[in-house]
Symmetry: C2
Subunit: 333 residues, 2 copies
């Protein structure tokens, strides 16, 4: 069949062990021998079999990545950060979509473990007990990216969602807004729902403002759902003069939903988004938003994972990346 290490050994007139050494860059090989082997490799177009190597060495240089939905503009950018760093450290990636579905997630973890990945990078809504159990059913390191875990016993990379949301709403309050609306994701969702919602409430209470439930509308992260959510907010008699939106895509929906009703942004209503995806500059007016560095979250989490896979010392496995507000034209100057 295809040429093996034995063929190369025979061609070069050495033992297979020597070929293995050359292939693996082991320095204990006489330069002359190395050359002979390299020539044989080239002549036979030898290509090492990573599967055999993986079986013998118990390292596959492959990591599993579980992501809710790669077609989401948010996660795809995160994935790019992951992949770039993985490549840098010579790892390949097995990419799996979970749709945030718990059964799928657990099934995927198992599949990845069967494939003997050297580590797992997990993105999802939440880590339950069952997740933790399955993830620990093996000794491979796991890093959580943009994912919530109450007990914090997994390494993870996030921003401070509560504080970030609070910052955005505080800014709105400081501009004098009395009624600030929020278009949130499902409150069952730890990150995009609950934590951002909590930041919203924290901001209100820290400024001594009353919370008014009628100012909250729930979307499902799609553009269209946000258009509907905004209608809901507008149908109340006491309209908000500013709206904080949990994601950029929904923020575009909010802006257009407002404009479709003849309401001007930011003159009549100011809008603030969250994420700073590429969408934020692709609307008129351009979107003021909380910057969440997706690419960096991916990159940093992959870097962290490589440290664990190499058994390097890690001082702090729970990393919180900085966030900030990017002011554009959906808020007044």
């Amino acid at each position: 069949m295809s040429t093996t290490i034995y063929d190369v050994a025979a061609e070069a007139g050495v033992s297979m062990a020597t070929v293995s050494r050359v292939v693996n860059g082991n320095p204990n090989v006489k330069p002359a021998t190395r050359t002979k082997v390299l020539d044989a490799i080239q002549k036979l177009e030898y290509r090492p079999n990573a599967v055999a190597r993986g079986l013998a060495s118990k390292r596959t240089t492959t990591v599993g990545v579980i992501i809710p939905d790669i077609s989401s503009i948010f996660f795809s950018e995160l994935a790019r950060g992951i992949e770039d760093i993985a490549t840098m450290y010579k790892y390949n990636i097995i990419l799996c979509n979970s749709d945030n579905n718990k059964e799928k997630e657990i099934h995927l973890v198992n599949t990845l473990l069967e494939k003997q990945v050297d580590g797992i990078l997990f993105m999802g809504g939440e880590i339950t007990e069952e997740h933790a159990e399955q993830l620990n059913r093996s000794h491979v390191p796991v890093v959580l990216a943009a994912t919530f875990h109450e007990d914090g016993d997994f390494p993870s990379v996030n921003i401070d969602y509560v504080q970030a949301a609070k910052d955005a709403v505080m800014m709105l309050i400081d501009k004098g807004h009395e009624r600030i609306g929020m278009v949130s994701g499902s409150l069952e969702d730890p990150v995009n729902g609950y934590q951002k919602f909590r930041g919203y409430k924290d901001a209100l209470s820290s400024k001594g403002k009353e919370f008014d439930e009628s100012l909250i509308a729930i979307g499902d992260y799609t553009y269209d759902s946000a258009i509907e959510a905004v209608q809901q907010l507008l149908s109340k008699d006491n309209r908000p003069s500013a709206i904080f939106v949990a994601t950029d895509e929904m923020a575009l929906g909010v802006i257009h939903g407002l404009q479709d009703q003849g309401i001007n942004v930011p003159e009549d209503v100011e809008v603030v988004g969250f994420d700073n995806t590429r969408l934020a500059t692709m609307v008129r007016p351009t979107l003021t938003t909380v910057v969440q560095p997706m690419y960096d979250i991916g990159a940093v989490s992959m870097r962290l994972l490589t440290k664990y896979m190499n058994k390097e010392e890690v001082s702090d496995g729970v990393v919180v990346l900085p966030h900030r507000l990017e002011y554009r034209n959906s808020t007044k100057a």
Copy 2:
């Protein structure tokens, strides 16, 4: 270490061969034995080692996917189609970004082949001789998705780009436009550049219209580059009254570039995009565009690949999916 097929065999009081049969669903096992084995598997929490299996069977149930950039809204949707069908057929995916860089692409093919993938799904600008050679340096099947190959000796899934572009421009001509601009990708780029450009010219000549180079502006597929491209078109004295844009993202740039100059879309200038990404409905006015079914291209190409991997008969390896125009508000009714 971790439990192996031997441990299970011992626990169940059978041979490892029998365990293997049970795990692989081989029907030649007495139900009673099967139950014993299954119990042992459960008790020991046995998880088959896919790497060992791959080495022994020469099948890894893994396919390699080479994609220019997963963070692109276009490719990430394609990737989702690929992944869904792969999952359906029990394959996993190793995802690699190539940035459309020939050296990287060739390197990646080699890496994937080392990892013993059962097949390769390739997306990229173009397949050169060198690509073809590397791809054939192994007997694994290869399918091209949304990728151009002159000689057509690889199976592939595409739409008819020339015809699709031609349809869009014809429509514009039929509406009475005398001067139709185009914002194109680089003409070196076979699909997004050259083919769509050819469709544009074909439409013109089939209607007996003169080609005017000053109506063409080149972008690099980004939103911002399209804004610049539009300035260029507007700076000429004989402005176009309609613009055909090679991708949706650039079309958004064109629309906003126009609006920023106080030009109304579609009243003053009509705009037609290409792809029908989710962006198309996320602008005001919403974008009239050529529908390219990205998800389907991914799904169909993966399905095609599974057929080759299973050595099924394939009647036609070169599939051309239908396209159509979706009329929205960036063109007049």
